[in-house]
Amino acid sequence: MTEVKLVIQRFNPMVDIEPRLVQYIVPKREGMTVLDALLYARDYVDHSIALRFSCRQASCGSCGMKINGRPRLACYTQVDELAGGEVVAQPMDNFAIVKDLVVDLESFFTKHRELMPFIVRSDPGELEQPAAEFLTTPKELERFLQYTYCIKCGLCTSSCPTVATDSKFPGPQALAQAYRYTVDERDEGGERRLAALDTTHGIWRCHFAGSCSFVCPKGVDPALGIQLLRRHVLTGKPPRGKGEGAQVWKPAGRPGAQAD
């Protein structure tokens, strides 16, 4: 039986002074993912290994970590695709370590919330007593569809060089989501959202390294979203095409019906 040499960075901030790398040997099987190897090590070799996971199918974004030096999802990375025959699992950079491979995502989600990642309507009554659906068109959807695929795994943020040096920078995930909602035809909160990100440590601190787009496991391009959002902030005009075809707030939610 072939084996996998699994090296895990172990660190308990309550006990340890500094992280250390510990090697585990686990049996290899066909189609084995890094998460499979980690779970084997935890279940059969060392129960104290801490890691976060859930869906095992790249949907929940829980198992983000640095694998062989690159931020990846453990469940979405096959052991066979890693060169060298050794798997080195470390916690994501740019986050405080809770224990071993588990990091503290509190600041990540706080920044995400600060940029209002939801549809904002000027009339709150619409939301409390909806009389129709908020519709959009396929053409409108195309503009932000890729950004809806974000699973908030934090890999983009862990790879961002600006996040590493500027603790107040919102990060690529939050900014890409700000773009996603700002260009949505149904949203009316663009002004408030842009005011929140047009600050000293806001969207302008992106250096366009592009590492966020490089590591995204869902094919999202946050770097592009940030640049498009910058253009929007600078010109003060809505993104190209916004309002050129969307049919919003249709009575009874029927496509093609007359708008109010």
């Binding site: 603790s167 600050t199 000293t200 600078l234």
Partner: protein, 116 residues
């Protein structure tokens, strides 16, 4: 001022600086040979031709604003405390005003004095 406005200034001064420095190098190295261009009397005559004096003053302002604003951005990324940010902004404005003032003084002295 909003950060977007400051960045707009940064981008505009970058483009202007490239254009103005190009013209400056063209005038001082190609149109007028470099050895002649740096002669004291020649420099004074350049300052005293109104159009070129305005050109040099523009170059001074554009390059200083771009440079100091760039340093401001680097310093903001270096430390994120509010007090630091406030000081950086104040010092940047003072540095720009002082540098432009000193450079302008040189231009004015060359125009009205200079000993030639």
């Amino acid at each position: 001022m909003k950060e977007s406005r400051l960045m707009l200034v940064q981008y505009a001064t970058a483009v202007l600086a490239v254009a103005l420095v190009s013209v400056h190098l063209l005038m001082q190295g190609v149109v007028t040979p470099y050895a002649t261009a740096i002669l004291f009397g020649n420099i004074l005559s350049i300052y005293r031709s109104g159009l070129y004096a305005v050109f040099l003053e523009s170059l001074l302002v554009v390059v200083l604003v771009h440079g100091f604003n760039g340093v401001r951005i680097i310093l903001h990324e270096w430390n994120q405390s509010t007090s630091w940010s406030n000081w950086v902004d104040i010092v940047t404005v003072v540095a720009i005003v002082a540098s432009v003032g000193y450079g302008t003084r040189t231009v004015i002295l060359a125009i009205f004095g200079g000993g030639a």
